[in-house]
Amino acid sequence: MSMYNEKVIAAFMNPKNVGAMENPDGVGEVGNATCGDVMKIYLRVKDERIEDIRFETFGCAAAIATSSMATEMVKGRTIEEALKLTNRDVANALGGLPPEKIHCSLLAEEGIRAAVEDYRRRSQGLPSLPPRHEAVCHHDLAGSEEPRGD
């Protein structure tokens, strides 16, 4: 199993902004159950500012920890600021992630973007986009395999 630092563990054990949101202004769902991580982000936006944000994540500790950290980092920020957030920023804020877990952390960045896109479509009266389950599996970014336990 991966070795996580204390910040990651803390975010995983006590994640912030967990759960669905009633009547969100935008929803983004990214990832792929085949790959093992799926993230759903809900936004409440007021005057182009993220007033509230929630997540639901199916995934490993890294996926849950980055969901928590990423949502904390964009909460209260403008949409424009939120779109600048990268998975590297999130990983840094968590004090680093094991290399084989970088692919799990990409979802947070993508999830926020997908939710913002959905919000934009809704504000233009367009229908919501379906979940992006085809989203890249990031297999190429995965670390090398660790030795197996037995």
Partner: protein, 390 residues
């Protein structure tokens, strides 16, 4: 600190029994002789090594001459498979195995597949069982070896080894079984079982790591992997890991007693408490592997809507050591190939959880797990986008 520390990963490895350790220790100090030396120092160690061989042979009702020691289960698997392929390569180039073998077997066959051999990998059903008709039909006139694991490490399913061995006999095909998970835990009688080669490892039966054995039935010839001084009947050269071999012998002796005394039945009872209790307490969970044709210490599940690594980490914080075949535990992005071969979909396979009992596991330990796991599952499910009715 957690309330309790409960190690539930005995399929990965067991602790070394205190009595085993005590038998090993002198071979690191005063009994340092080389068992191949003719003097007193050597002779004393030789007799201990041969006693160990006898104990390992007894565990599976074989002759001592049929047991050769290796540096672990993986090496014994490699030796059996490559040793037969090399020796009988003139006679035929076809090999048969299954999709759920340990990598020590599967990757060895895949390697042979790249080196001029033709390998058939048989599928398994939803319980992890190989179909006997499919097995029979896979054996061709040019088949030289079939290898099917005795019991699976991830899902605990025990294969119909006797029947498969008989089919191989009928067809004149050598039969190897990887019994790393089974040996020392269920009775194995090689006088009665039609198996030609069988792999064991000491560290799955309260012995040391890095020590294994290959049973090679009298009259069956294989080529060595390691050439040199001709130790282990010329099949595994190198000065013996004397402390390790003695430890394996001691562990085999204890395992035989455990099997004879019915201690295994108690383990099975606790396993069933765990299986029934967990399935009752956690909705949308299922057992993986066969319900009854399964290792007495093995419980494995899929817990829907959540991912295995997250579960393992939270269990770890609660003092419970478990394992999972989820992608995120291996860093490979693919969940367990064993679960996929059994027909599970990816999302379900990511939620796999394996709890394997040991001889010190108590009813209180099981109660602690049954109390600790449901709230963990509940918390993770509350975070998951895949809930029921959503």
């Amino acid at each position: 600190m957690p309330l309790r520390m409960v190690y539930m990963d005995h399929s990965a490895t067991t602790f070394v029994d205190q009595a085993v350790l005590e038998k090993m220790l002198p071979f690191f100090s005063e009994k340092y002789g080389n068992p191949n030396s003719v003097h007193a120092w050597g002779r004393e160690v030789r007799s201990s090594v041969e006693e160990a061989r006898m104990n390992v042979a007894r565990l599976v009702n074989a002759e001592p001459r049929e047991i050769l020691f290796t540096g672990g289960g993986s090496e014994a698997d490699n030796l059996a498979i490559k040793g037969v392929a090399e020796n009988l390569g003139e006679k035929g180039r076809h090999l048969v195995t299954t999709a759920i073998e340990h990598h020590a077997v599967l990757d060895t066959f895949k390697w042979l597949g790249k080196h001029g051999y033709d390998v058939t990998i048989l599928p398994v059903d939803g319980d992890g069982l190989v179909d006997l008709d499919e097995f029979r039909n896979a054996l061709r006139p040019d088949t030289i070896l079939a290898s099917v694991m005795y019991a699976n490490n991830e899902v605990g399913t025990i294969q119909p080894i006797h029947e498969m061995g008989s089919i191989c006999r009928e067809k004149g095909v050598l039969f190897h079984t990887d019994a790393v998970q089974a040996a020392g835990h269920i009775p194995i009688d090689l006088k009665e079982l039609p198996v030609d080669l069988l792999t064991m490892a000491a560290h799955k039966m309260y012995g040391p790591k890095g020590v294994g054995a290959l049973y090679v039935r009298k009259g069956v010839r294989i080529a060595p992997l390691v050439h040199g001084g001709g130790q282990e009947f010329g099949l595994r050269s190198g000065t013996e890991n004397t402390a390790g071999l003695v430890g394996f012998g001691a562990a085999a002796e204890l395992a035989m007693k455990r099997i004879a005394s019915g201690e295994i039945e108690e383990e099975r009872r606790l396993r069933d408490l765990l299986i029934d209790g967990l399935l009752l307490r956690i909705e949308d969970s299922s057992l993986t592997g066969h319900r009854t044709l399964r290792l007495p210490f093995h419980a494995s599940f899929c817990i829907r809507y959540i991912e295995g690594e997250a579960m393992l980490l939270r269990l770890d914080f609660a003092g419970i050591g478990a394992s999972s075949g989820s992608a995120c535990t291996s860093g490979s992005l693919e969940p367990s190939y064993v679960l996929l071969a059994m027909g599970l979909d990816h999302a379900t396979a990511h939620g796999s959880l394996r709890l394997t009992l040991g001889k010190d596991t108590s009813e209180e330990d099981i109660a602690y797990i049954l109390e600790t796991l449901p709230p963990i599952v509940q918390t993770l499910r509350a975070m998951s986008p895949f809930k029921k009715n959503s």
